[in-house]
């Protein structure tokens, strides 16, 4: 297996240009929304709205301004599939369409997916959705085709400020930790890394430098594997089955079978 590869996104240098979105759409030949009709969301400059089957990159615009607007800031973040080391989507996929590649990334094989949508519900980040053209579940592939040819993914290649950086995860983590230290030294004490270590789903192969709580960026503070409920849920169901089974056996015992006969038709 090749060295694990991924993205490190430094949100403090994102300028919201959406070059990553355009490059992603262009390279992966993703269709436009509503036939290309220009519909505005009313949510800042964000008309992409969400990650889904035809939006594999999504630049979020978070406006933090007080009423008097004397102070304030923009938080900008280019969101994408996290290519989790412990990937919920891959775990539940019943067709084997979702695979882990030699680069430790997570890819949905469109020719195998049958559109059951279990992965959409399993993803803790709301990344996956159905592509209405293929009617299969789709998401960022971390440009698997480009990586196989030794090329950089389209989005990071297009990013003009190096907010999105691509490379071996080990190197990216070192670079990100230095950047956090630099920001702390310059007074931005709120900077921290989201998903860079193994504590979060074994590590996110696309991790972030943030300067506010994850919820502010629309990221879950505590993402979990969907299978956490499998064993307890099954044990409770077996318990229920036993109670119902006992109720059945108790009710079908001969005693009492002749009760309440009178009055029936």
């Amino acid at each position: 297996m090749a060295e694990p590869m991924g993205f490190y996104t430094d949100t403090t240098v994102c300028i919201g240009c959406k070059a990553c979105e355009v490059a992603c759409k262009e390279w992966n030949q993703l269709p436009s929304t509503a036939g290309g009709a220009n519909t505005l969301s009313g949510d800042s400059y964000d008309n992409t709205r969400q990650l889904d089957g035809i939006h594999w990159r999504h630049v979020k615009f978070i406006e933090q301004f007080p009423e008097d607007r004397k102070d304030g800031r923009w938080l900008l973040m280019s969101d994408v599939c996290k290519h989790c080391v412990q990937a919920g989507c891959l775990e539940v996929c019943p067709t084997g369409a979702i695979i882990r590649t030699e680069f430790d990334t997570v890819v949905i094989q469109s020719n195998t997916c049958n559109g059951c949508r279990d992965c959409i519900a399993a993803c803790p980040f709301g990344v996956i959705d159905i592509n209405p053209v293929s009617n299969t579940a789709q998401k960022c592939t971390l440009c698997y085709d480009r990586m196989q040819a030794g090329m950089e993914p389209a989005c990071s290649k297009a990013c003009p400020t190096d907010s999105i950086q691509f490379g071996p995860i080990r190197e990216l983590r070192e670079r990100a930790e230095k950047r956090v230290a630099q920001l702390h030294d310059t007074g931005e004490k709120r900077a921290y890394l989201y998903g860079a270590d193994e504590k979060m789903l074994g590590g996110l192969n696309s991790f972030y430098l943030l300067v506010d709580r994850p919820e502010v960026y629309g990221l879950p503070p505590d993402p979990k594997m969907p299978t956490r409920n499998l064993v307890p849920g099954s044990l409770y169901a077996v318990f229920g089955a036993l109670i119902v089974g006992l109720a059945g056996i108790f009710s079908f015992r001969d005693r009492g079978a002749s009760e309440r006969v009178e009055g029936e038709r």
């Binding site: 019943p94 059951c116 959409i120 969907p226 409770y236 229920g240 079908f252 038709r265």
Partner: protein, 308 residues
């Protein structure tokens, strides 16, 4: 989002709608009716065998409909077989830790068992309920009815498979990251209990409509009382286990859930306990309420999460 009560609020809806709700309901009835039929076969009296056959007659057509519903719900229905066979290698596709994978095999296996029991029930019939199926009466299949060893094995294994089909759907919802579904481990328990109460109600309803008064019908009624009482406790346990997430039901879905608990569980229980005589009308009313309650319960559980 900033005040979300759980990390599950940051996920996307899988767009599971009416086909899936119908599958959850009918699959529960199919599995539950088969389970009850096998229970009647194994623990009931000889005069109850007709009631057991009714359960098998219900289970097989329903599981056929379930397979159809699941297939048409797929984005690519012609690829339904990818659930069972690997597309590249043509080897079996099975993930024990994925409820959807396990469930796909459960539908197939239960479908086979329910088909065999359907044929066995028909073979035992002197006068089939439906004339159209007379051609399917093959005498050999009588060997697949208890108390023959083969028939007993079929009833036991098929009953377990049916029970699994009735309950795994709740676990399928729990093994996601969606609000409500993944915030409690009790949905499998709730669905299995609800499937049992709905199935008992359906068999009682069908038997009463035919004017059957064998002991098994009264036993089913008695069993349904116990199961309904347990179901009320389980619904309360689900709400408690949700903790702050339960506030997601402080809306029309919560009202519908309250209506379901009162109309589909408590009212039939009160009707059963207070009735001095079980007339056709009050039994059919109570059973219908339980059936509607079983459907409403699944509508609330599925759509209240889909709406977030």
């Amino acid at each position: 989002m900033i005040d979300a009560p759980s990390s599950t609020w940051f996920t996307s809806s899988p767009h599971w709608g009416w086909y899936i709700i119908a599958y959850f309901f009918l699959g529960g009835l199919a599995g539950g009716c088969y389970f009850l039929a096998s229970l009647i076969d194994l623990a009931g009296r000889p005069e109850d065998r007709r009631l057991a056959r009714l359960g098998y007659y219900v289970a097989f057509p329903l599981v056929l409909i379930c397979g159809l519903l699941l297939t048409i719900d797929l984005g690519r229905p012609l690829r339904f077989w990818h659930m069972l066979i690997q597309r590249n290698t043509f080897e079996p596709m099975f993930k024990a830790w994925s409820p959807m994978s396990f469930g796909s095999w459960a539908v197939l296996v239960f479908g086979i068992f329910s088909f065999l029991s359907f044929l066995a029930a028909l073979a035992e019939e002197d006068r089939p309920i439906y004339r159209g199926v007379r051609r399917l009466r093959f005498a050999w299949f009588q060997q697949l009815r208890p108390p023959s060893p083969l028939g007993t094995a079929l009833a036991v294994i098929g009953g377990i498979a049916g029970y699994f089909l009735a309950g795994y759907t709740g676990i399928l919802l729990a093994v996601t990251n969606r609000p409500i579904w993944a915030d409690t481990p009790l949905l499998g328990l709730l669905f299995i209990v609800s499937a049992a109460s709905s199935s008992a109600a359906l068999l009682v309803l069908l038997a009463y409509r035919r004017g059957w008064t064998m002991p098994g019908v009264r036993n089913l009624l008695r069993m349904d009382d116990w199961v309904l009482a347990f179901e009320v406790v389980v619904v309360i346990a689900v709400i408690v286990s949700l903790g702050p997430v339960a506030r997601a039901w402080l809306n029309v879905w919560g009202l519908l859930l309250a209506f379901t608990v009162v109309g589909g569980m408590i009212v039939p229980l009160v009707m059963s306990w207070r009735a001095r005589t079980l007339t056709l009308s009050n039994v059919t009313t109570a059973a219908t309420l339980v059936l509607v309650g079983g459907l409403l319960l699944r509508i609330v559980i599925v759509l209240s999460s889909e709406a977030i």
